[in-house]
Symmetry: C2
Subunit: 410 residues, 2 copies
C-alpha cells in the first residue's frame, strides 16, 4: 500500500492527489481539483457532445462531477461567437461544475475515414448527425492542420493546433486536449510513425499556445501509436517529457478488447511511473468490463456516450451477479453480458424495477412492465428514464470501485 499526495506546483488551480494505490493491482483512488470543483477518481465522465446530455437536463445527473463536450460539434453549432458572448461554455450551458473538452481532431478525422474506423469509440463517431454527414468532409490535411467543410452550412473551416486551443480557451473548460491526427487503420509502421510524429508536433504547438495564456485550464496530452507496442511506448515516453497536466490514451484503441488490453499493458506502467503522478484518462471507453479492466490498470478517468446511447435503444445496464452472470474482472471488455433490453416481451408483465437496489429515478418510480410499455408505445420519456438508469449505474460503479480501492479490497 502506497499513500502519496502529489501537487502540480506550477498550477495551484489544478491538483491531483492520489489518496490510495492498491497493493494487489495498479488501481488508485484520487481527488482531482479544478477551478470548478473536485472530482473523485477513478471517475466516469458522461459525454454531452453539444453541451447537453442526451435526453436529460445535465442538472439531473446525480454524481456527474465532470462532463465531456466536443469542440468539433460546438464549433459548428452554436459556433464560437455565441459561446464567447455567453461568457464561456459553463455559462452558456449553466453548469458550474468541471467540464472537459476535446480538440475536435477525433471527429474531423472520423469524417475522413467515413465510418470505416473499427474503434472502441464508435459511439462518439456515430454521434454526428447522419443526415448531414455526406456534406461534412475533410478537404486538406497538412502540417498546418486539417481543413474541412461544415456539415451545417457547407463553409470551409480550419482546425489547427492553435485554432483548436483558441476555441477551447473561449469555451473555458477546466481540462482541454491538444490537437492530434487520427490515422487510418492497417497502415505501415512507417506511415504510423510519420503520423505519430506529426501528432507530437501538433501537441507541442497546442501546448505552447496553451501556455501563452493558461487561463486556469489544465491540458492533457494524448498518447497515440495505435496498436503498435513500439509506437505507444515511443509516444508515452515522448509526451511524458512535456509539461502536460495529465494524459489521455487516445488514437485508435484497436479492433477489439484484446487490442485495448495490450495497449494499456504497454502505456500504463510508463504513465504510473511518472514522477509527477499525473492523472490518466482513457478516451471513449464506457462499457463495464472496459472500465473494470482500466481501473485495475490504474486509469483515473473514462468517458463515453455509451450509457445514454444504448438507453435510447432500450438497453439497460444490470449487475451481472443479480442476473446470474458473476462479474469476472479478468473478462475481456465488451464480453460481459451485463445488459438487458427492456423492449423484450418478457418484461411486459414484469412489475419489478430494473434493479431493486438502484436509486435512479427509473428504478425508484417504475416497473420494467411500465418501461417496456413506454418503449412499445414510442413514448420519448422512456429515453430519459433509461438514460437516468444507465448513467446512475455507471457512476455508481465508479463509486463502488473507489470505495473498494480505499478499503484496500481491490
Amino acid at each position: 500500500m502506497r499513500c502519496t499526495t502529489t501537487t502540480l506546483s506550477k498550477q495551484p488551480f489544478f491538483k491531483f492527489e492520489i489518496l490510495h494505490t492498491s497493493t494487489k493491482s495498479n488501481a488508485r483512488a484520487g481527488l482531482l481539483t479544478t477551478p470548478h470543483g473536485t472530482i473523485k477518481t477513478p471517475a466516469f465522465v458522461p459525454v454531452g457532445t453539444n453541451g447537453a446530455i442526451k435526453c436529460l437536463p445535465h442538472q439531473d445527473v446525480p454524481g456527474m462531477e465532470l462532463m465531456f463536450s466536443n469542440t468539433y460539434h460546438l464549433l459548428l453549432q452554436p459556433g464560437l461567437d455565441i459561446i464567447q458572448k455567453a461568457g464561456g461554455l459553463h455559462k452558456f450551458m449553466n453548469r458550474d461544475t468541471p467540464i472537459i473538452t476535446d480538440s475536435g481532431g477525433f471527429q474531423v478525422f472520423s469524417l475522413q475515414h467515413n465510418g470505416t474506423l473499427a474503434d472502441e469509440r464508435s459511439e462518439i463517431k456515430r454521434a454526428q448527425p447522419k443526415q448531414n454527414q455526406s456534406q461534412g468532409r475533410v478537404l486538406t490535411i497538412n502540417e498546418k492542420g486539417v481543413s474541412f467543410r461544415s456539415y451545417i452550412d457547407g463553409s470551409q473551416m480550419l482546425l489547427s493546433p492553435e485554432s483548436s486551443v483558441d476555441a477551447q480557451k473561449v469555451f473555458g473548460a477546466d481540462i482541454i486536449i491538444p490537437l492530434d491526427e487520427l490515422p487510418a487503420h492497417h497502415i505501415s509502421e512507417a506511415t504510423l510513425l510519420s503520423s505519430l510524429e506529426r501528432t507530437h508536433r501538433w501537441e507541442e504547438r497546442s501546448l505552447q499556445r496553451h501556455l501563452q495564456h493558461v487561463n486556469n485550464q489544465a491540458m492533457y496530452g494524448v498518447i497515440h501509436g495505435s496498436t503498435s507496442e513500439r509506437m505507444r511506448t515511443l509516444s508515452t515516453n515522448h509526451l511524458l517529457q512535456l509539461p502536460f497536466d495529465g494524459y489521455c490514451i487516445g488514437g485508435s484503441l484497436g479492433k477489439d478488447a484484446h487490442d485495448l488490453k495490450a495497449i494499456l499493458r504497454t502505456v500504463m506502467p510508463l504513465l504510473l511511473n511518472d514522477v509527477q503522478r499525473r492523472p490518466v484518462h482513457l478516451l471513449g471507453i464506457g462499457d463495464e468490463a472496459g472500465i473494470l479492466n482500466g481501473v485495475l490498470q490504474g486509469v483515473d478517468q473514462f468517458d463515453s456516450a455509451l450509457p445514454t446511447k444504448v438507453a435510447r435503444h432500450g438497453t439497460v445496464f444490470v449487475d451481472n451477479q443479480k442476473i446470474g452472470h458473476p462479474v469476472s474482472r479478468t473478462a475481456l471488455p465488451g464480453t460481459i453480458p451485463n445488459r438487458m433490453n427492456i423492449r423484450s416481451s418478457k418484461f411486459k408483465d414484469d412489475y419489478r424495477p430494473i434493479d431493486e437496489e438502484c436509486d435512479c429515478v427509473a428504478c425508484k418510480n417504475h416497473s420494467r412492465a411500465y418501461l417496456h410499455h413506454l418503449v412499445k408505445a414510442k413514448e420519448p420519456v422512456v429515453h430519459a428514464l433509461l438514460s437516468h438508469h444507465n448513467l446512475r449505474y455507471t457512476l455508481k460503479l465508479m463509486e463502488t470501485q473507489r470505495d473498494m480501492i480505499l478499503a484496500g479490497e481491490l
Copy 2:
C-alpha cells in the same frame, strides 16, 4: 357574488365545491375532491395519452393535479390484462394523484374520419401513431358499438358502452367518460339527430354499467350536438336529467373559434343552472384564448396535448403583455399571438430566459440562446425543457385565473 357549496350526497368520495362565482361573468372557482386527491378549479388537465406525459416523467410536472389518459391507446398498448395485473392505472404508472380517462370513442371514430375532422381537438387525433394509422380502421358501427382493427397487431376489437366502461373500471381512473359516437361534419340535421340519439342511448348504457359497480369512480356525461344550437340544447337538457357526476362538452366543437364560442353560449347557461352544480369539462381545448374564454363562461376543466405537442416543434408560450401584445379576453380562441418559436435565428444570441418571471426548469436554468442551440443541434432534451415551460405556463395561467376569481377581479 354568490358563495355556494354543493356536495353530491350519493357519492361521498366525489365532491365538487364551488367556492366563488364571479359577479361580472360566469367564471367560478372550486375544489373537486376525488379518491386520489383534490383538484383546484378551473383546472388544466395535461394529456398523457399512453399513461405518460410526452418527454417528461409525470412526477416532474409541478401543479398537475389531474392527468388525462386515453382508453383507446391503453387498450391497444399495453392492453387491459397488463394494467389489471398491475392493480390499475395508478399503480401501473405509479401516480397517486387523480386521473381521468376517456371512453376511446373519439379516437376510434377519428380513425373512420381519417383525419378529415376539422376540429379544435386535432392535436389529440394526431397523437395516434402515424406510421400505423392505415392499419387501424373501423370495421362496423351498429347499435351494439364500434368494431375496429388494432393498429398494433391487426386484431379485431369491439368498443361498446359496456366494454369501454369495463376497461375504465380496470384502469380505475377517478373520473371516467361514457362511450359516444362522433359523427362526420356537414351532415343533415336528421342524420345528426340520429347520431345524437344513439350517443344518448350509449351514454345511458354506459351509466347503467357504471352504476352496477361504482368502484369509487365518478362519471361525466358528454354533451353532443355539433354546431347545432338545437341539438346542443337537446343534448344538454337530456343528459342533465341523468345522474352523472359532471359533464364534458364533446363531439365536434366546430371548424373555428367562432363555432366554439357559439356552442359554449348555448350549453353553459343550461349547465350552470343545473341545481346539482356539477363540474363542467371542455374536451380538448388548451390554447390560452380558448381557456380564457371558457373560464369566463364557467368551464371548470380543460384538457389538451397542445402544450407538449407544440413544444416538440420549438414553440413556447409567452405572456402577450410581455412581448407587446396585450391579452384581450374577448379575442377569439386561437387568434392571440402568445407563442414564439425558439428555432428562430433571432434567439441565437438572446441570453435571456424565455420568461424571466417563469419558475419552470427551462426558465430558471437556461437562456433562449442555449435552447435555440439545442433545437438546432437536434438535442432531444430540448423537448423536455420546452414541454416543462409550456405545461408550467398553462398550469400557472389557471392558478392566476383562479386567484382572480377568488379575489373578485374577474
